[in-house]
Homo-oligomer: 296 residues x 2
Amino acid sequence: MTHVTIRDVAMRDGLQIEVPIPLDAKLALLEAIVATGVTEVEATAFVSPTKVPALADAPDLAAELARYPGVAFSALVASPNGAKRAVAAGIDSIEYVVAASDGFSRANVGRGTAEAVGLIPEIVSIAADGGATVEIAVATVWDCPFDGPTPVDRVRSVVDAAVAAGVDRIMVADTIGTAVPARVTTVLDRIRPLIGDLPLSCHFHNTRGAGLASAYAAVEAGVTRLDSSAGGLGGCPFAPGATGNIATEDLVYLLRDSGIDVDVDVDRAIEAARVARRVVGHELPSALLAAGDRTR
Amino acid sequence: MTHVTIRDVAMRDGLQIEVPIPLDAKLALLEAIVATGVTEVEATAFVSPTKVPALADAPDLAAELARYPGVAFSALVASPNGAKRAVAAGIDSIEYVVAASDGFSRANVGRGTAEAVGLIPEIVSIAADGGATVEIAVATVWDCPFDGPTPVDRVRSVVDAAVAAGVDRIMVADTIGTAVPARVTTVLDRIRPLIGDLPLSCHFHNTRGAGLASAYAAVEAGVTRLDSSAGGLGGCPFAPGATGNIATEDLVYLLRDSGIDVDVDVDRAIEAARVARRVVGHELPSALLAAGDRTR
């Protein structure tokens, strides 16, 4: 039986565009997410508190993570300075985001792809000094809101540089939720030969309804690590009203009923989605939050 | 290039649980749906006007269909009497619904599966006399809200009887939106050997988020006919707040970007979804209605 490891990203990718919520509310959400059985959680990001005020409490949140020794926590960074702050806060798994498209990279971090790639060795060195691992999170892998479709060679070139720099894991992200199964397979086929035995994960948004279909296509292509978000929390600032990350509970439902082994319990994931809805104070796009599990 | 024929079912499966809307509003929706380029439309149902008041105007609507000679219209029936009314109204493509689970069949039409199956020859005869074709729409193929998972042998037995009675097409429906790709493949593998060259279509709901993934799994398994609904109009009375049919515009987006040929234009499908939202007066679950097409 295939096992798929799910990383819940509601705490970071979910909350980042929300109105900032108090640390206590975040910890309630974290508690509910951990209770689902999930083994990996993206806890926060060490990025500009001005640009992302919702995650300005990253060091405070990081200080609470030791309460859950069974869970592997990661934090996203966008610069060497962020990596230093993350390591100083005790984070031992860093995600460094590099957009494969220049337009998004400039809008997101103020530098183009090549410049962002050029910082990978420094990030790896900072992490190594702090005893942390590094995942390269490749953003806008399929499409860019500014540049249109991303040539797969741009993605390959980021992955190549990351592998050469000795990173520990690769993640490919459909940042604006435009991928579909056939395009997922195409990209995965082109990058798998580059990464050897490094773990590869995929991160999909459900913005155009195809997020779960894309995630399943990735699993069929051999990917065993997927990001998802409690309640589907998380949107995209470029698509107002659009749904966000694929919902953890919907993903777990699909995988479980497809005979794939997952650590997350559907009912507890629905409960975490309820907590997510409560702490952000608005409806979430999760299907199971509305419909519930099927009768078994 | 694979071609997939889409049938838009918003006019019937979409509107059936809505508050009844005036014929003029329905015709505006029909006009918008036809303008998408779709070649097949489920126009209405000839069922009890007491049980389904939203479709009580079926004969009036049927009288308008001749305005669109390029579109193949079908209507759903649940009894020989309904079939007679449909034929009398000029419908030349009848869908007779038979639930594979007894619980849903009894709740839906007041008779169990075997009894509903027993009426197939009479329906075929009525259709033949009126120059109409017959599709058997098998409901609750994966799960029943009352009986739980549907044994695939129950589905096979309905399909066997339909083929023996000389029907023209088979459709399998995930009535309550619980299917996932692996379960879709399992059922299709078991029924394909029974139907020879008869056209086979699939009908999915997105109630648990997996509708598009299931539809794509069906296409990968060789199915070239899919039902979907403008705007994702249509819910399920057993899952309040749950999303309805898979949205035509979301399906077309996924298929188009997967390199599959479809007759429906994405932009016009989004426009039809807007009209659907306007005529029913509430939000719809469509992803593209919120997010729009991707930049190309």
